[in-house]
Symmetry: C2
Subunit: 316 residues, 2 copies
Amino acid sequence: MFREKIKVLDCTIRDGGLMNNHQFDDRFVRAVYKALSEAGVDYMEIGYKNSKKLFSPDKFGKWKFCDDNDILKIIDGIESNTKISIMVDVDRVDIDDVKPAGESPVSMIRVASYVQDIDKAIFLVNHFAEKGYETTVNIMAISRALDNELNEALHQLEEECKAQVIYIVDSFGALYQETTEFLVKKFKSILKTKEVGMHAHNNQQLAFCNTIEAIIHNANFMDATIYGIGRAAGNCPLELLIGFLKNPKFDIRPILDVISNEFIPLSSQLESGYIIPYAISGMFNEHPKAAMALRQSDKKENYREFYESIVSASMD
Amino acid sequence: MFREKIKVLDCTIRDGGLMNNHQFDDRFVRAVYKALSEAGVDYMEIGYKNSKKLFSPDKFGKWKFCDDNDILKIIDGIESNTKISIMVDVDRVDIDDVKPAGESPVSMIRVASYVQDIDKAIFLVNHFAEKGYETTVNIMAISRALDNELNEALHQLEEECKAQVIYIVDSFGALYQETTEFLVKKFKSILKTKEVGMHAHNNQQLAFCNTIEAIIHNANFMDATIYGIGRAAGNCPLELLIGFLKNPKFDIRPILDVISNEFIPLSSQLESGYIIPYAISGMFNEHPKAAMALRQSDKKENYREFYESIVSASMD
């Protein structure tokens, strides 16, 4: 029943960090790493590697920078086959901060890029690949990519880029399964030598659905987060994905434990999940930042006014 | 883009009533009816018609019995094209309680039945059809139906039953979209003269996904509930379905208002949504009653123990 090539990457700390300025404390991050290791999850993405010249460590937690020493403190003493991944954004990383893979606890570097920045992404990926890392390109905001530009980017990635995996990133939680099918088939048809990945957001309760849809059409790298936390509406819940995959290498029980012990208490502080303004953002294929601002205001439950503001903005 | 034949049935009060013994007060039910009417929703299912010989009105709210007079008090003075539906369970209805359609505010009667009770369901449907009602059969627990028995039941329904619509009911929230596709295609291939409906539960965050999947394969009657409330994990959220359908006859704004004003306050009293024990029930294709009992106990967040109990039970 299961497909051995499928790899699961947990990005709880990285994507969830977008909701708390990457301020998760070491105890919590170690609990997540331990649970993922015991569950047999293939990769844990722990944060971003941003340049400290661009962002101040006074304002952001350590998982916006992912110093190797900070990662070593998390993994120390925990038995694990789970590889560590970090994400870099085009134009925000200082490549000299990245040591050769042999000197780092990091196994994989994922480069997040919009379609129009694909040349920069290819440059970064090839640089990190030279340093010995596994690499991916994660094409953000795919629901807004123009078809001709996306096609050109995919051909470039196939021909010029050393990344093993190219991800579809539904940043706005706007995809329905028909479009996911269309995109995965397109990616597979052009990217003959690479794997396809899926990173879904849950604005319309379709993150798990779109992840399954990608699996059906032969994508093999799947992102998920524990309890579905992540920016705004969050992501595909890891526990649902493991339940679906039926792969004997995974054990859901450590994930259930860490949800009981860590994520239920966390949910009173870090809002994520099915929330109407995020659903509206998804319906309109909009970035969730306006909805995130609304949720910080005293109009947080004023859905109609928010809806009208999105309608008006899209008509301007 | 839209398919005119698609009809949306809201079952907020009926399915949600399974979480509070059908105790919604008139003010709340009128607010729901008004919102659905303004939104252009085709049907509102207001409750069950159970025999008072079997259930005591002292223990249950009025929406377990749906007296015509109680319904008339709800709809009085509200301009509406939304038709009223009620549900009956096989073996729980006293058919003499049901007046001819011309004397009742009810337009549609839906008969809920397991595959093995299909003869009883056909009898009831044909009786209600004689009385002038629109009728449906809702095949519950479809994820446990044996294929040969289901095939036989569908042929009987096609040949002997006056119901206009036959529903797939994913009572346990166990379906993935591949099985939904399989079932809708099967229903469509046998039920040449009837419409197919979908009633999904949201244990694994797939109620909306499976509803879309049913639409893709030409099911035309879709159940949903406001904010997704309903038994256990709840149902397909109406607001997401309306956002997807793009049918100009629907207006999402009255639904957004009633969520802000009624359902956000309600959510602190009536638990429904993405809750791990319900997700586990869905994964194991189990009735949610054990999970519902857990949520009433002091072990409500003890997910691993619950998981082990379900695993053990399924091995006994």
